[in-house]
């Protein structure tokens, strides 16, 4: 077992696809929440493998994409403060804010550094004691425990120049917000794999119970995703929606207790501003009072002009699953990975970037 090729086996994949086709009688719509799934689905051509009865929508699960313009503007304003070093995951620096981007701020002289992990940001703080080092904390339940760990590390090592701008978001509350809005009717959800490694399967249980929508947690390999779709179709055909794990090698029903405890120790739950969705109650993580010395929101104040969205950009609709990238007039014309207008074209987890990079599934049948 090498845990890669086994999950990409074409015979097994075709077998699963046939099984799905045999099982599927109703026309259904499922959404993959996670941007990592969107990319895997398009990279391996999974939409062409599943029967036409199964419509697949991309959801909001891209950390960079859901970051509100106002929050991005704040990060850019912080970058321009004297003696500040901004540390961030790479994709963030290219996303256009209302008036600038972190990349532009960097070119104008701000100290903006790409890190691969939050502990690197703590190291930068250690190495630059006279500067204030701010980490732009984006992501879902996946990145939150590592950010919590970095705050704890900074506290234990008495590093007083490390701060986090906490923009972390929670998955189940935004799923609820999407379902409540009723804008996109769904029969099933491909639930995120890595998020579920942390939170487990229990937090999704309200979805089948209250909304009658099937939920299956999936890994990121092509066979994982096909197995997940098979289980979703089975649930929907039987009319028995529930939460299932199709990624048992990564996800336990109770999740990762230690990681959740760490999140709980450092963060409290509050509202969050989501691009395209707006303020969603109980969907964000704020730093607890006990650790507020590390809270960039408390330590710095910046004045911001009102945010504005780029004209014609439909990232908000794409994030909600209300539009496909193709329905945006800018897609592939004014907005490309080289000169992105919105975040969905920038991020390696964004739906527009996936459509652009791998081709439009609907048109690929011709090749």
């Amino acid at each position: 077992m090498k845990f890669i090729d086994e999950y990409q086996d074409s015979k097994l994949a075709r077998g699963l696809a046939r099984k799905i086709a045999q099982r599927s009688t109703k026309t259904i719509r499922v959404m993959e929440f996670c941007g990592g799934h969107t990319h895997a689905i398009l990279r391996y051509g999974i939409r062409q493998l599943v029967p036409k009865t199964v419509e697949m929508k991309s959801g909001p699960g891209c950390p960079v994409c859901v970051t509100a313009t106002a929050d991005l503007d704040k990060a850019i304003a912080l970058a321009h403060l004297p003696d500040v070093i901004i540390t961030t995951f790479g994709d963030m620096i290219r996303v256009p804010g209302s008036y600038s981007s972190l990349q532009k701020a960097k070119a104008e002289g701000a100290d903006v550094r790409i890190v691969y992990s939050t502990t690197d940001a703590v190291e930068i703080a250690k190495a630059n004691p006279v500067k204030s080092v701010i980490f732009i904390g984006i992501g879902f339940e996946t990145t939150a425990p590592t950010i919590a760990a970095s705050i704890l590390k900074a506290q234990q090592e008495k590093i007083e120049n490390f701060y986090v701008l906490s923009l972390n978001k929670l998955t189940p509350p935004v799923m609820k917000a999407l379902l409540d809005s009723g804008e996109v009717k769904l029969d099933g959800i491909v639930c995120p794999g890595h998020v579920s490694v942390i939170i487990g399967s229990h937090p999704y249980e309200f979805i089948p119970r209250d909304y009658g929508v099937a939920c299956v947690i999936s890994g990121f390999e092509p066979l994982d995703i096909l197995l997940c779709i098979d289980k979703l179709v089975e649930q929907i055909e039987k009319g028995e929606p529930k939460v299932e794990i199709a990624y048992p090698r990564g996800v336990k029903p109770e999740g990762n207790r230690k990681a959740r405890q760490l999140m709980e120790d450092i963060f409290k739950i509050g509202e969050a501003n989501w691009r395209g969705i707006g303020i969603v109650p109980q969907s964000g993580l704020k730093i607890r009072k006990k650790y507020e010395q590390f809270d960039a929101d408390k330590a710095f104040s910046v004045s911001l002009r009102p945010p504005r969205e780029p004209k014609g950009c439909r990232c908000g609709d794409v994030i909600r699953g209300a539009a496909t990238p193709l329905e945006c007039k800018l897609f592939g014309k004014a907005c490309t990975p080289e000169s992105p207008v919105g975040p969905c074209m920038v991020s390696s987890e964004g739906a527009c970037a996936a459509y652009y990079q791998y081709g439009i599934p609907e048109n690929l049948q011709d090749f």
Binding site: P63, V64, G139, Y358, L364, F367
Partner: protein
């Protein structure tokens, strides 16, 4: 303590001479270089190829090579990709003040090994020293001259419908080996960079067939970017099969972990050749006899359809577009 480079090493005076005479000449000596004239003089006749490239890799030492080996192999390979036999190279070094002389010596020794393997000579050189912070340790630039045999016509614009696409071996080794050493992303693995001179492999391929239409080394941007360049330049379509592209287990694993696609990861010792279908099998067989072509494979073919586009049949069967690399390769966040 180890001696290091001083600004005075770049002054043009005594220390500059010492640097050249003690650290470069003993390793790279040849009649043209030894003269230390303002320019090197050599004889050549026929069609010549000429190329230049700058090397700013970080870290400068990495598993399987260093900036010196890279600077020789990169330029040798650029010449070879047009079917030229590389002959002479120039070497220009921009050194940051404070750089350790012992490290410089290690790099020059590695340059020596690479030029010996590639059977080329460095016949012109230059050194400059800049203030600390004005360069990152060491930047190298090499230029190269090569000679093209009569009848050889290799260009990115020469691919024709029906041609086969050959790849000389596993992809992504260099990029992943470098990434595994980068600050902030260190992970331990046994993987080495594939950095190697490919001129002998190319000359063996040319010995066996005159119907090699295009060759290119898929360096930065990876295989995906090179295939796109060739499709656009030749105004043809290219179809490749994902399952036929050789990738080492370690590279697959690292790419899975980081959320990268190996077809975008850099190589420094691989080539893509687009050849006449009638000769594809015998060229492949010859490539496999060379250590740098041992894992060579036919990965696809050239089509009339969808000119300028590269299509990949994924492992599962369906097709998708393969676009050029856009921006930097960054690990996924979630």
């Amino acid at each position: 303590m180890d001696d290091s480079i001083l600004l005075a090493h770049g002054s043009g005076g005594k220390l500059s001479h010492e640097l050249v005479e003690k650290k470069f000449l003993p390793f790279l000596a040849n009649p043209a270089l030894n003269k230390l004239d303002d320019s090197a003089i050599f004889e050549a006749s026929g069609r010549l190829a000429f190329t230049t490239d700058g090397y700013v890799v970080n870290p400068i030492f990495f598993p399987g090579g260093d900036i010196g080996k890279l600077a020789v192999c990169g330029t040798v390979n650029d010449l070879a990709m047009n079917g030229a036999k590389p002959l002479y190279l120039s070497l220009s070094a921009i050194i940051e003040e404070g750089f350790l002389l012992s490290e410089l010596e290690r790099i020059v020794q590695s340059i020596k090994k690479a030029v010996e393997e590639a059977e080329v000579s460095i016949i012109a050189g230059d050194t400059k020293v800049v203030n600390r912070g004005q360069a990152d340790k060491l930047f190298l630039t090499t230029s190269g001259v090569g000679i093209i045999s009569p009848g050889v016509d290799i260009s990115g614009a020469n691919a024709r419908a029906g041609d086969k696409v050959l790849l000389s071996g596993t992809i992504g080794d260099h990029g992943i080996a470098i990434m595994s050493q980068r600050e902030g992303l260190k992970f331990s693995m046994t993987l080495k960079s594939d950095c190697a001179p490919l001129n002998k492999l190319v000359s063996q391929m040319l010995d066996i067939s005159s119907r090699i239409h295009c060759m290119r080394d898929p360096t930065r941007g990876g295989l995906a970017t090179t295939l796109n360049e060739l499709a656009r330049q030749s105004k043809v379509g290219i179809v490749v099969e994902e399952a036929k592209i050789p990738v080492k287990e370690e590279v697959k694993a690292a790419c899975e972990l980081l959320g990268l696609d190996p077809i975008y990861v850099a190589n420094e010792g691989k080539l893509v050749a687009i050849v006449d279908p009638a000769d594809a099998d015998k060229i492949l067989a010859r490539m496999r006899k060379n250590r740098y072509g041992r894992d060579a494979a036919i990965i696809g073919e050239v089509t009339k359809e969808h000119p300028g586009k590269v299509i990949m049949k994924t492992k599962l069967g369906p097709s998708r577009i393969v676009d050029m690399l856009s921006g930097e390769l960054l690990p996924r966040i979630c």
